[in-house]
Symmetry: C2
Subunit: 334 residues, 2 copies
């Protein structure tokens, strides 16, 4: 499952900017992958790319139409069938991160076969995944872990990759979620993997590497989220990371989606992750905290970062706002 760029980003009739989160992620991190956006009447999102028809996209060499929006339930609106068929007819592959599969819509499947294009349901896990072994692997690996879901693990991982690349360090962002897979062009949709193969799929994603190389693994969920902790633990064991970066969003008052569920304290969260991670990497350390300050007033940010540094005695930064320099320094420190 390798996506071919350049992309045209399909925003459909997204009701707001947040619904276009995947498309925005691509534009934020890999602007060179996307040539334009395709919006339907009523679309309230705009990721700042030129609006482009399927015909123009094809003429400009676009290879894949990316369904870069989310909707409640993850279904594929019937109203999109015509435009997706037209995209295939125009010579584009179509890739989707929705729960509903492109393959399951007969007209779309038939058009893909007829025009010899690929349908890529990135939420469909590969078959024949291996079972994890926990065997030591070569190369370096870092994993982002979280106090909660959706606190900025992907952005933190990408910020570390950008900083390492700036320094000339061989580094690879390893995607485990839908937006990450669009950005990386490939990856493992770990939430869709059969439970027995969580750690095995991540071991396959982050294989033996040369000594100086860093695999930077996008974390998912939280050990403290009652819905998804199994995913997080399998990821932790499979990644066999020597370094963790804790990701946190300080305005959360409860675990995402669960009003009755409090957040763990930062220090308890670090300790629980280290404890579990030691099973496959005994010398694992937590090197820093990536704080998502997007919901915090500008004049409060530094106070909060300082508080976290005092509490945990490791660097706390917002890597999207101000770069991952200090996190990378900490990663590389002996």
């Amino acid at each position: 499952m390798k996506l071919i760029s350049p992309y045209l980003l399909f925003l459909g009739n997204a009701p707001d900017q947040l619904a276009a989160k995947s498309a925005q992620g691509i534009v934020d991190w890999r602007p060179e992958l996307a040539r334009g956006q395709l919006r339907l009447p009523g679309c309230a999102a705009d990721v700042g790319l030129p609006d482009m028809s399927l015909r123009d996209a094809s003429a400009q060499g676009v290879k894949t139409l990316i369904i870069g929006i989310a909707n409640a339930g993850g279904f594929l609106p019937e109203a999109w069938t015509g435009i997706l068929v037209s995209a295939l007819e125009a010579g584009l592959d179509v890739a989707s991160g929705l729960h509903a599969r492109l393959e399951d819509v007969p007209e779309i499947r038939a058009a893909a076969a007829h025009y010899n294009r690929r349908l890529i349901d990135i939420r469909t896990a590969a078959q024949n995944l291996p079972v994890g072994t926990g065997q030591p692997r070569t190369g370096h690996r870092m994993l982002t872990v979280g106090t909660d879901c959706s606190v900025g693990k992907m952005y933190a991982t990408l910020a570390v990759e950008a900083e390492m690349k700036r320094r000339g360090i061989p580094a690879l962002f390893c995607a485990t979620g839908q937006t990450g897979i669009f950005i990386a062009g490939s990856g493992v949709p770990v939430d869709a993997v059969a439970a027995d193969f969580i750690s095995g799929a991540i071991e396959q994603l982050t294989p033996d590497n040369p000594n100086g190389h860093w695999d930077l693994v996008e974390g998912q969920g939280s050990l403290f989220h009652p819905s998804f902790a199994g995913v997080s633990l399998g990821l932790l064991h499979g990644a066999q990371a020597e370094a963790l970066i804790l990701c946190h969003e300080p305005t959360r008052t409860h675990m995402r989606g669960l009003p009755q569920q409090p957040l763990p304290s930062l220090s308890i969260c670090v300790e629980a992750n280290l404890e579990a991670a030691r099973l496959t990497c005994p010398h694992v350390r937590c090197v820093g905290v990536a704080v998502n300050t997007s919901h915090i007033a500008q004049d409060k940010v530094q106070v909060i970062l300082d508080q976290i540094e005092d509490e945990l005695a490791i660097p706390a930064v917002d890597p999207f706002a101000s770069g991952a320099g200090r996190l990378v320094d900490a990663l590389l420190a002996p």
Copy 2:
């Protein structure tokens, strides 16, 4: 997915008794469900039931042929197609716990449609599972957890159920693995559930119950097994158990299948499971240890049980060898 009894147990050409583990589990715990066994030439297993042809089984009211054996790779040998088609023709449903799906063999699928019988691939997880919430539920729940895979969690759970039923306590064995599902007639094949839905599937399996009722949940894997810990953690959160029973096999020298991976100490294993379980059940306790002594010389058993009791200060018994009376006493103690 509800299996209809009585069963005929298909042992195929099992190379040894261990390959017929699922069939043996049914005979050990629900002998009333199985009328006979069907063995092919060369079969080296025998679960002590009358050998029975498909025709005789049908005449005696058998409703389901159970493929009660395992093979490396979990595939469906081509040589079985004829006999499975004959079973459908004789009016039986066919249920399989193999990885390979009955549905995927065209002749078998066609025969099931033609004779209007059901094919039940018990390793295929239900679609449309809910995401877990961790919301408090009514009734009592117990979960077996393990130092390792395959240490006797299912047998311990069934022994507790048998003892509770003997005492007139409303109790239900909740199956999470293939043999357990054959025994219970239904359940959740948790290792096949998509990773995002592990805890949700277990919440659905163990719903709100009347006050005095006990759901007794079959555990899987171990928090300390690098291949499967994600499953174990999702199960722990989803079961929301107020009581854990630790299951252990004292002759294990390393985690099953992983020669490099040591076993955790019993006390570390108890503490890690309690710590994680508190996320959804703050008052959880570990009430006892179920020790699988099947590989221990008779004159050494009591010494080992006494050592474990001394170490953990909770009852340690082999519930399959000598009953779960003390475990149930501990479960019911205030």
